[in-house]
């Protein structure tokens, strides 16, 4: 009797063990696939840009001339354009998205929250080329006529709103990015807020907190998740190509004025890769891809650090 029991036990145990190890193996495989893909990309991009790195070295990063005809390549205006347009987008989109998400979760009656939530998800699914066309034909003319002139009258004395207002440029590029990433950040933040236990809200309300104070507590508890959502949006803004290309003006220059045209890394790759002839030119474009890789990494890391430190502070005060 006892012998049989032991036999059964070991049998079952080994079965569980094999099943478990297969399960574990599959998971490890999935996770390492990500690592393999990233490494493979880095190796291929690195190899492709060797020629350009050897030719220009560090000067590629600080050069501001991009002249394929004469074979001179510098990435600085593109790095500037990518970072600034993404930062503008995140600065506009973050408060907006958190506002929408808080409204959906904390304030709106269910009959309203459902359709609005659905619309937000719908917006997130629109292809970027559609946003771009809409920006050319609707947003840019609107900004040129109704938004940029008053901005120029009111704030024209600052260096940020100088030049001819054509409706196209860094300002519009940042704005269209903000519009594009708002639904993404909103959708994620909403899900995170919904995951905060109801008991917390009830506890706060029971202690006599107002709705605003309750929301503050909920937000503080959800801060790391919100940070993740913002970084997700930032990542999309940095890599976004089509919509920005259509509206940013595609001019490799560094200008403080937001009304001036600018250029992003993703845009120049999309614009020039198909017609790039000559090995050095191609290599320079591939190196742009490498730089985009690094810029994304640095900006995301910085954002994470920033948001973490802010989050820690709010948690301490809360």
């Amino acid at each position: 009797m006892s012998k049989e029991e032991t036999k059964l036990d070991t049998n079952g145990g080994s079965k569980v063990l094999t099943a478990d190890s297969i399960y574990r193996g599959v998971l490890i495989g999935c996770a390492s696939l990500i690592l393999v893909i990233v490494l493979a990309m880095l190796i291929v991009i690195g190899q492709g840009s060797l020629l350009s790195i050897r030719e220009f070295g560090f000067h590629f990063l600080i050069g501001s001339t991009w002249d394929p005809v004469k074979g001179e390549f510098g990435a600085l205006p593109f790095i500037y354009g990518t970072v600034v347009s993404s930062v503008i987008a995140v600065l506009i989109a973050t408060p907006l998205s958190i506002g929408v998400a808080v409204f959906l979760v904390e304030q709106a009656p269910r009959s309203l929250a459902r359709p609005i939530g659905f619309l937000v998800e719908l917006l997130a699914a629109i292809p970027s080329v559609v946003y771009g066309l809409w920006a050319i034909f609707v947003l840019a003319p609107f900004l040129r006529v109704y938004v940029q002139p008053p901005l120029q009258t009111a704030l024209g004395w600052t260096p940020f709103f100088k030049g001819t207002a054509t409706g196209v440029g860094m300002f519009t590029g940042g704005l269209i990015l903000a519009i594009m990433i708002t639904p993404i950040i909103t959708a994620v933040v909403r899900d995170i807020l919904e995951a905060v236990p109801v008991t917390q809200r009830e506890a706060a309300l029971a202690l006599g907190a107002t709705k605003w104070e309750t929301t503050k507590i909920v937000l503080a508890n959800a801060s790391s998740g919100i940070a993740g959502a913002v970084i997700l949006g930032l990542g999309r803004a940095i890599g976004e190509t089509m919509a920005v290309t259509m509206i940013i003006g595609n001019r490799p220059q560094i200008s403080v004025s937001l009304f001036d045209p600018a250029y992003t890394i993703a845009s120049v790759i999309a614009n020039e890769f198909t017609e790039a002839t000559g090995d050095l030119y191609l290599s320079a474009l591939v190196e742009m891809g490498l730089i985009l890789f690094v810029v994304t990494f640095i900006v995301t890391a910085l954002a994470k650090l920033l948001i973490l430190s802010v989050g820690r502070k709010t948690r301490r005060t809360a």
Partner: protein, 354 residues
């Protein structure tokens, strides 16, 4: 065990059917792949479908990936023919694994289009004025240089905004090739190429991007392919040619530019016809070429290519006008036919079937 057998069965089935289908294809249709110029794409799609109707055994696929891409893929032999609105450079030809020939099949034109309220008659431009506009030296529409070309037009005193292509394109190459010929300053400061470094202006992506931006933004000027300006009912500038006449771009004037330069065209047919001489020649015109290897590796494919191109430069020309291209002048059809006759398989000439 049972699942394993099932999977084996499925794989075997897939292999068998694959073998069947590819076998059938080998005996029947000839499949040809081409890629390159986006300028020729609308016409090429028309040609491919018309030619397919005439010859049910031929299947031609054309990808509009840009002239540069077409040249690259021909060199790598991943496609059977390329199309380009630029001629291949000597270095490109040398590094190809075989002799590539240029066969001009149609003509295209790049036009100046603008958005200027209150001006109804078409504006005129002389070469140096165009160069000065795109160099950023002319910044208002009532500039004396524009006025000199248009003495009867009341030009408004508004700032002028330049719009150019932001993506690498044959259109830009043709336009900057023209500017380099007519303006030494342009040649020195900017030069010619698919993605030149523009001194001023906004970049629009593609012909449709430039068209959209010019149409949407007041007081702009840009350059696009003829078809885009006509289809969008936008004003088109008259350009002063070498003979001193202001010429409007149309089928006649573009074909004229080719006809006038035919004697100077070298044997390999690589010719730039911008700034052509001739009373009625439009100066920003260009051939679009098909690029193929002189020595073909497959007899049936080679034969089909020869037949297709022969059809294109003869019967195919009648589709040009409705799609806003200009037909080849008769002299060039002759020379192109002679070029096609040079295509060989195993050293044997592949004469057109019909």
């Amino acid at each position: 065990m049972r699942t394993l057998r099932f999977v084996t069965f499925i794989i075997a089935l897939a292999l068998v059917s694959q073998a069947c289908f590819s076998g059938r294809q080998g005996k029947g249709a000839v499949k040809i792949q081409g890629a390159g110029s986006s300028l020729i794409n609308p016409l090429m799609q028309k040609w491919v479908s018309e030619y397919g109707n005439l010859n049910s055994t031929v299947r031609i696929d054309y990808q509009s990936i840009g002239s540069g891409g077409g040249i690259k893929q021909v060199k790598e032999r991943t496609i059977q023919f390329g199309a380009s609105d630029l001629v291949m450079s000597d270095a490109d030809l040398k590094s190809a694994p075989g002799e590539i020939i240029h066969v001009p099949v149609i003509l295209g034109a790049v036009v100046l289009t603008y958005n200027l309220e209150g001006v109804d008659q078409p504006l005129r431009f002389s070469p140096l004025t165009i160069s000065d506009i795109f160099l950023g030296k002319i910044t208002t529409w009532d500039d004396l240089r524009i006025k000199a070309d248009n003495p009867d037009v009341a030009l408004p005193a508004v700032p002028l905004t330049v719009v150019h292509r932001s993506d690498g394109s044959g259109t830009s190459a043709i336009f900057t090739n023209y500017l380099s010929k007519v303006s030494p300053e342009w040649k020195e400061k900017v030069g010619e190429g698919t993605s030149p470094s523009w001194p001023v202006g906004l970049g629009g992506k593609g012909n449709e991007g430039v068209t959209g931006q010019v149409k949407q933004t007041p007081n702009t000027i840009g350059y696009v392919e003829l078809a885009y300006a006509v289809k969008n009912k936008m004003p088109v500038g008259l350009i002063k040619n070498k003979a001193g006449n202001y010429v409007v771009p149309n089928f006649e004037t573009v074909t004229n530019a080719a006809a006038e330069t035919i004697d100077e065209t070298p044997d390999d047919l690589r010719a730039s016809i911008t700034d052509a001489a001739g009373q009625n020649a439009y100066p920003i015109s260009s051939y679009v070429y098909l690029l193929i290897y002189k020595e073909q590796q497959d007899e049936r494919i080679g034969q089909t290519l020869v037949d297709f191109m022969t059809w294109g430069i003869n019967d195919g020309q009648r589709f040009a006008q409705q799609l806003y291209y200009s037909p080849l002048p008769a002299g060039m059809v002759k020379r192109a036919s002679a070029k096609i006759a040079k295509v060989t398989f195993n050293g044997q000439s592949l004469a057109p079937s019909k």
